[in-house]
């Protein structure tokens, strides 16, 4: 049986489970074994899905059809721009950023004024969003208790206020249990991830119940909806609202980064950049899953409660209850509670941190009160301020709900907040990528955008509920028609959100850019601009420490740390820092620029960068560096980087050049060696015939009585040896001519078969003497080629005489010559059955002075010039000469001569 107490007990139990999860997460973090994995990180981003998603999307779908999806498409697209988010995380880590206000203030010279302004905008902007959660939880309670027999007495207190009080208490217990005021809350992230799972399962459960329990699947549901003419509009897109569609996507894309709670979980709570790689698809997948059943539930609700005037924002509860599925309704209630508590916890923690660091602390630092309390530990005070801030934020949410909440559906309230946080976009994105952007520009842009938002969106929402007069909406401020709040300068035809987004962005970006361009940043701003924009290029600490010069006392800085971090944590951090600098004891640390930087960073983690800077300067005597000097230091760093890059590039070029030179040198050495080889070969070749010529000539000269027969024989040898010498010298000359390009060519139509036949005839005697068979297969009537007949003959003769040199003699040798042609070229093959060539030899034999066989042991069988000359000749005609062979399988020399093209 459902009873009020049962519901309270169930809620309390659920919240107890959340506490357990958070405690487990914190304990693991303290033990150094973080449970924040990539999946937990991705799920914690789903804190984006609040009561808005859980209850409001269905309500939105009943009036706007598919347009509810834009709120989830924008984040999907935004997350794909991983580079932007990674840069944000990198900056936040380097600067110890605690909140989005801190981020913006830190970029523009750690300005307390800017931090305060961002905080005010965030708080005022988020208040409607908090109200939305209160309204949703209160409405879901009303639905549960309205069931007959379950009326519950609320002690005369408004149920919404009750919800606000419980949530405030819960958040205080939850988010500010620790006394150490650091920026990260791993337990909270774990609990939020857990909640994300609960609300997803709950919503899918009710979706399946409606789609498959009350209807017969998607097709049935959509078919029946199509039968209702009033529902037909929800099933198609309205192209006339294309502008609104795009505006909503843009708005939600900005919200996923700039809502304080999203900035908190995505940037501040990120423990490892690589987790983004999971989040980039897992979080959009989560969004997709939680939206699949929104339209079916909306349509189902509209059909089921047709004409009963039920509130569409609570269809997820009323549909199961109407079917008597009370357990499911309870589960859905818990899911909705999850959605609301997750949002409220993270949002109020983020906002309370901002209020504490950027509004209250600066005020306290200025007052004399804090100076009197100088000795005390202030970390308790920090926590106290945050707790009060949490209560205040929820109270404000309640007030807004009372003032304007009833006039809007859930989604309408949420969009007002989205438009507010979108105002951070120009200052934040501009600050990350544009060095010229100045503090004055950021202030001007934020103020302009926020004012427009206030006038065109927030105040009209009050007017709509009758809380203030609606004259400025209907007739314009002071009755000026142009100043009508939701038709500014006569701009009509847009919905109020797009209208506000358009005008506020115009004012915001315009003021930001114009003022930035017409102001000069001071030294601190310029330094921060450099560190933000070039965060990927800056080494960890080097330039940071150099930007501070002055006198500091170790004791005073340590006192400061102890006051704000608490003594235990301060000592722990000091010890860790001393170790990183190679010191055993932090008492011996020099109070130099690097130490001041460390202290400021630690303080920034607790009280924000602007306040931290103010505190550090109160105990140190800092010399003012001036803009020029800061820019010089930064320029120097930039130049050093540029030089080192140049040096690197030069070194690489040098390495390449060295490599090329080495290669060329190798080649030269090889050529030199070959020349040497050649000279020794040639000398050898020249000396052999010369020796025999000389010996025979001397015999003829000295012995006049030699017989005529003998003389004739000697003279015959002398003649043939002289011929050998001439041939060798001719070939060397020929080679030299070909290489230098001074050879003479007479090109004419040549019948290749005829050339081959003549060459065979010329060498017939040689083959006959060695007893080598010479076969031929010559195609007739080949088309003529354009070539030099004598040169071509030279090639064929060379190949044939090579072949006869290498085949075995005595009738075993066999050489086969073939001539064929295709449409492109004539092809001549000379195949022998000699010893064959290895693959390596197939390449080298075409090099000059290389010979077949081993030149070291065998007597050289040729000059080593025949094949290189042949190849040069064939290539001159545009053909190719190569050999196909394997050891022991003979060799086939092939050359081609191209046929003239048809047009030639």
């Amino acid at each position: 049986m459902l009873s009020g107490w049962f519901i309270v007990l169930l809620s309390a139990t659920y919240i107890g489970v959340l506490f357990a999860v958070a405690r487990f997460g914190d304990a693991r973090a303290d033990a150094g074994r973080s449970i924040i994995s990539a999946n937990v990180y991705a799920l914690s981003l789903a804190v984006y899905c609040t009561s808005w998603t859980f209850f409001g999307s269905v309500g939105r779908a009943t009036s706007g059809g598919l347009s509810f999806l834009t709120i989830y498409l924008g984040p999907t697209l935004m997350l794909l721009c991983v580079g932007v988010i990674v840069k944000m995380i990198r900056i936040a880590k380097a600067q110890r950023i605690t909140s989005i206000a801190d981020f913006i203030a830190s970029r523009y010279g750690k300005s307390q004024l800017l931090a305060g302004l961002v905080t005010v905008i965030a708080v005022i902007g988020i208040v409607p969003y908090i109200a939305l959660q209160l309204k949703a939880v209160a409405a879901s309670l009303d639905v549960l208790f309205d069931q007959p027999g379950h009326a519950i007495h609320l002690w005369g207190i408004d149920s919404t206020l009750l919800v606000a009080a419980v949530l405030a208490l819960f958040t205080i217990l939850f988010g500010t249990r620790h006394l150490d005021a650091t920026e990260r809350h791993e337990g909270m992230v774990a609990a939020v991830a857990f909640e994300s799972v609960v609300k997803l399962v709950a919503f899918i459960a009710v979706g399946v119940f409606v789609t498959y329990g009350m209807f017969d699947g998607f097709s049935d549901l959509f078919r029946r909806a199509a039968a209702h003419p009033e529902l037909a509009g929800l099933l198609e897109l309205d192209a006339s609202r294309a502008g609104t569609w795009a505006a909503m996507i843009l708005l939600s894309a900005l919200a996923i980064v700039f809502l304080p709670r999203q900035f908190q979980v995505m940037v501040v709570e990120n423990v490892d950049e690589s987790h983004l790689k999971r989040a980039v698809w897992l979080f959009p997948l989560y969004l997709l899953l939680i939206n699949i059943f929104v339209l079916p539930v909306a349509l189902g609700g509209l059909m089921h409660f047709s004409g009963q005037g039920a509130n569409p924002d609570t269809f997820v509860l009323t549909l199961p209850l109407s079917q008597g599925a009370e357990s499911l309704a309870l589960f859905v209630f818990i899911g909705g509670l999850s959605a609301a508590t997750g949002m409220v916890i993270v949002e109020t923690i983020a906002l309370s941190t901002m209020i504490c660091n950027d509004l209250v602390m600066p005020a306290l630092l200025r007052s004399t009160w804090l100076k009197m309390e100088k000795r005390g530990d202030l970390s308790g005070l920090l926590i106290g301020i945050r707790r009060v801030a949490i209560v205040l934020i929820l109270l404000l949410g309640y007030v807004y709900f009372k003032a304007a909440g009833e006039a809007y559906a859930l989604v309408g309230i949420g969009l007002i907040s989205f438009a507010a946080v979108a105002q951070f976009a120009p200052a934040l994105f501009g600050g990350m990528y544009w060095k010229q952007a100045t503090r004055a520009g950021a202030l001007a842009g934020l103020l302009a955008g926020f004012s427009v938002w206030l006038y065109t969106l927030l105040l009209p929402s009050f007017a709509r509920s009758g809380w203030i007069g609606s004259g400025f909406v209907e007739h314009g401020l002071f009755g000026i028609e142009w100043l009508r709040a939701q038709a500014l300068f006569g701009l009509t035809g847009l919905d109020e959100i797009s209208h506000c987004l358009w005008w506020s962005m115009l004012a915001n970006i315009g003021a930001y850019v114009v003022v930035s361009l017409s102001t000069v940043p001071d030294a601190l701003e310029a330094g921060q601009a450099e560190r933000f924009v070039d965060v990927f290029r800056h080494a960890q600490r080097a330039p940071d420490a150099r930007l501070w010069r002055g006198n500091a006392s170790l004791k005073e800085l340590v006192d400061l740390l102890e006051r704000f971090l608490g003594p235990a944590r301060a000592r722990q951090q000091l010890a860790a820092y001393a170790r990183s600098r190679g010191q055993r004891d932090w008492h011996g640390l020099p109070p130099d620029a690097e130490f001041v930087h460390f202290a400021e960073g630690e303080l920034a983690g607790a009280i924000g960068s602007a306040s931290a800077r103010a505190m550090v300067s109160s105990v140190t005597r800092e010399e003012d560096l001036g803009l020029e000097e800061v820019l010089d230091i930064l320029d120097e760093a930039t130049q050093v980087r540029a030089y080192s890059r140049e040096l690197e590039a030069k070194q690489q070029a040098l390495e390449v050049a060295t490599g090329e030179l080495r290669e060329a040198n190798e080649r030269l050495r090889e050529l030199d060696r070959m020349k040497d080889d050649f000279i020794s070969t040639v000398t050898h070749e020249l000396r052999t015939p010369l020796t025999s010529i000389r010996a025979l000539s001397e015999m003829l000269h000295e012995d006049p009585k030699l017989e005529l027969e003998e003389r004739r024989r000697f003279l015959g040898i002398i003649v043939s040896e002289t011929e050998r010498l001439t041939r060798l010298i001719n070939q060397i000359l020929d080679m030299a001519k070909l290489e230098s390009g001074r050879a003479e060519w007479t090109t004419a139509d040549v019948d290749v078969s005829e050339v081959v036949r003549e060459s065979m005839n010329a060498l017939e005697q040689l083959f006959h003497e060695k007893g080598v068979h010479l076969d031929s297969d010559l195609a007739d009537r080949l088309p003529p080629v354009q070539a030099d007949r004598d040169r071509l003959t030279q090639v064929v003769v060379n190949l044939l005489s090579n072949a006869v040199k290498f085949v075995p003699g005595g009738g075993k040798g066999r050489v086969r010559v073939g001539v064929s042609a295709d449409e492109k070229a004539v092809r001549v093959t000379v195949a022998d059955n000699g010893p064959g060539l290895t693959a390596e030899e197939c390449g080298v034999i075409f090099e000059k002075f290389r010979q077949g066989g081993n030149t070291m042991t065998d007597k050289p069988q040729g000059t080593g010039l025949g094949l290189p000359i042949s190849r040069q000749i064939v290539e001159y005609f545009g053909g190719k000469l190569w050999v196909e062979s394997a050891p022991g399988a003979g060799a086939t020399f092939i050359f081609t001569v191209p046929l003239p093209g048809p047009e030639a």
Binding site: L77, A239, K277, R278, R537
Partner: protein, 64 residues
């Protein structure tokens, strides 16, 4: 100058690819019904799911 990682560039390309697919005028193209379900619903969830699938493939391939 550090060059952007290829994974980041691919994901950004996916984003630029997704924007025209999920906005007008292309969004105005799908019409009618398929198995009684409006095609525009299938189209939106299809493109959305497709982007997620591609993003998962791009992101997870590099991380292993």
């Amino acid at each position: 100058m550090k060059r952007g990682s290829p994974t980041r560039q691919r994901l950004t390309a996916l984003c630029l690819f997704g924007i025209p697919l999920l906005t007008y005028p292309i969004l105005g193209l799908p019409g009618g019904t398929l198995a009684d379900i409006p095609v525009v619903v299938l189209y939106l969830f299809g493109v959305w799911g497709g982007l997620i699938l591609l993003a998962a493939r791009v992101a997870e391939r590099r991380s292993k």
